[in-house]
Amino acid sequence: MTQAPAGIYLDNNATTMVAPEVVEAMLPYFTEQFGNPSSMHQFGDRVGRALKTARQQVQALLGAALDSEIVFTSCGTESDATAILSALKAQPERREIITTVVEHPAVLSLCEHLEKEGYTVHYLRVDRKGRLDMQQYLDALSSKVAIVSVMWANNETGTLFPVEEMAELARSAGVMFHTDAVQVVGKIPIDLKRSAIDMLSLSGHKLHAPKGIGVLYLRRGTRFRPLLRGGHQERGRRAGTENSASIVALGKACELALAHMDAEKTQVRMLRDRLERGILAQVPNAFVTGDPSNRLPNTCNIAFEYIEGEAILLLLNKAGIAASSGSACTSGSLEPSHVMRAMDIPFTAAHGTTRFSLSRYNTVADIDRVIAAVPPIVAQLRRLSPYWDASAGAPLAEPETAFQPAYA
């Protein structure tokens, strides 16, 4: 589908634009700086030094105590899998895992697979605002648990989980704690040396670095078994020749993220709130999902009742606006997003959830164009909806009982 050239990109939780400074920093590592950092000559040495700098830039953004706690991987998924599988390998007598029902598939699918191999997985529930059941967490923590893996922020709603507190509880119980922080790194300040988090995953392309680069933070002293064995790269913790250009890029992106941290709190949050208020003021039967009082500054997830998300996205796309949806149809599965289901959002709303995720590259003009574009799109689809009374401009009285299609 052809897009308007000057599109408005509000899908930064899916992926981000690579910052121009980042592209500039990485380009030489495709050409003149091609050496293998392991090599005993100047070609390798120059690249090796660049990797060291990048490692320190990542360390600074994460507030890690040591640069050797940074392990470069290929993506967030690899970091998640490495963390969880390492904990199971290192502690074979512990056969249980604690995670949440709203994790990213990188963790959820792996856990479901591990269940088939005989592990017990405790899935922590959430309430209607996407907040974790902490009592269930306390009840599940025991010496049988190998690892707790809980996302720092939810990718769909932006809702933040109290992972620092949960990591302290895990430490007291003698259990390893991992967090998938791909949505958080670069958006809110992190200081790992003051936390009890043992492992943390991040993904470069969520913070204006390229795709194909990730990090596993591994606290010194955490028992570890590598996923990939081979050469001595990453001190033997992740074998395979380093993706040097992307590592340099990620280092630069982390440096920029640290420099712009205040902009996330102020400018990005202001734009997000403007967007949210602007839409909700004009569109009836729409509400914010997740926990609006405790979420990422860039994320806004609105459920538009009685219409379906893919149709919304197609019409937004036609208007040059990029967003994302929790509807079944955008994923090709038959179920709406597991996150919306877990929060008990009714089907008539869950299918219409639309996520707008901003970045520091968005402008007030962008946001105002989106605020103007959304209401007519919603109205257009509601005119087609069997749950909507087009003449009254409102849902049917008792929509779920007025329209009850056969087979459900």
Partner: protein, 298 residues
């Protein structure tokens, strides 16, 4: 992003016959909220001729659900009810120049709404006979429920057999792990274990094993087996005809959509399996193109 045809996009952006028909006398409401689709079809039928004079739709659903609804109303306007009941979901998909496999269920919903509306007009109760599961095979749009039911109904025990009966797994083969998981589960219900290395069960249903058939009886039985398979192929706009039998080699002609289909080899294997089972002896099914002067070149 979905690879929607231009026609799908056109019918989504500019849907035809949107909204309810004012004085409708046939209403069909179908859908599945859990999978994000629901359709209310309203028709105005001329009682004298049973002709559909007007059709309107209201759809809660994605782009292809809206486009499928629009296409359905365009297709059936002016038809008699009997003609309209012959509109298949494939006709809807064809009208739209194809739908992605994950979206074929949108066209199924259109056909079902039509059946429900006609039943409503005739004062009958429409009952849906199909349950939909998670999509397993993306090449041929086969879902888990169909695979499970086919395994149970036919006592299947291998991925290969599932492919022969449902087409699932006959394309890119990425879903073979999923099919093995379904087999494991269904076989466990029957107290059996799935063994990927096991050979297909001995085909001995005909009771004719050992007793040699006469030539004519043998040909008839092969014809019979092929006749039994044809409706399945015709459902997918394909067909097969028997050309010749030469000893252990059975030559057939694949026609319609089967000709040049990427599944042709698998289809031949399925036909072969069926004939072998019915005949109680091994034969090889080959395309008629492979029928040279000497037939033992394979």
């Amino acid at each position: 992003m979905w690879d929607y045809s231009e026609t799908v996009k056109e019918h989504f952006f500019n849907p035809r016959n949107a909204g309810a028909v004012a004085d409708a006398n046939a209403i069909g409401e179908v859908g599945s909220l859990s999978c994000g689709d629901a359709l209310r079809l309203t028709l105005k039928v001329d009682p004298a001729t049973d002709t559909i004079q007007a059709a309107g739709f209201q759809t809660f659903g994605c782009g292809s659900a809206i486009a499928s609804s629009s296409a359905l109303t365009e297709l059936i306007k002016g038809m008699t009810l009997d003609q309209a009941l012959h509109v298949s979901n494939q006709d809807i998909a064809d009208f739209l120049e194809g739908l992605p496999p994950e979206k074929m269920h949108c066209s199924v919903m259109g056909r079902e709404a039509l059946q429900a509306a006609v039943a409503n007009y005739r004062g009958e109760v429409w009952q849906d006979d199909h349950e939909e599961g998670a999509l397993v095979c993306k090449c041929f749009a086969v879902d888990a429920v169909l695979i499970e039911e086919t395994i149970r109904a036919n006592g299947l025990s291998s991925v290969e057999a599932v492919t022969h009966y449902t087409k699932a797994g006959g394309g890119c083969s990425a879903c073979h792990e999923g099919i093995e998981e379904i087999l494991t589960r269904v076989l466990a219900e029957q107290g059996k274990t799935f063994d990927p290395a096991a050979a297909p069960p001995p085909a001995d249903k005909s009771g004719s094993a050992g007793a040699r058939l006469g030539t004519l009886a043998r040909i008839r039985r092969i014809e019979h087996a092929i006749e039994a398979i044809r409706p399945n192929l015709q459902r997918d706009h394909g067909d097969v005809e028997l050309v010749d039998i030469d000893g252990k080699n059975v030559f057939v002609n694949m026609t319609g959509a089967c000709a040049g289909c990427q599944m042709a080899t698998t289809t031949l294997e399925g036909i072969q399996q069926r004939i072998v089972e019915d005949l109680g002896e091994f034969v090889r099914v080959l395309p008629a193109q492979a029928m040279p002067q000497t037939t033992n070149n394979q």
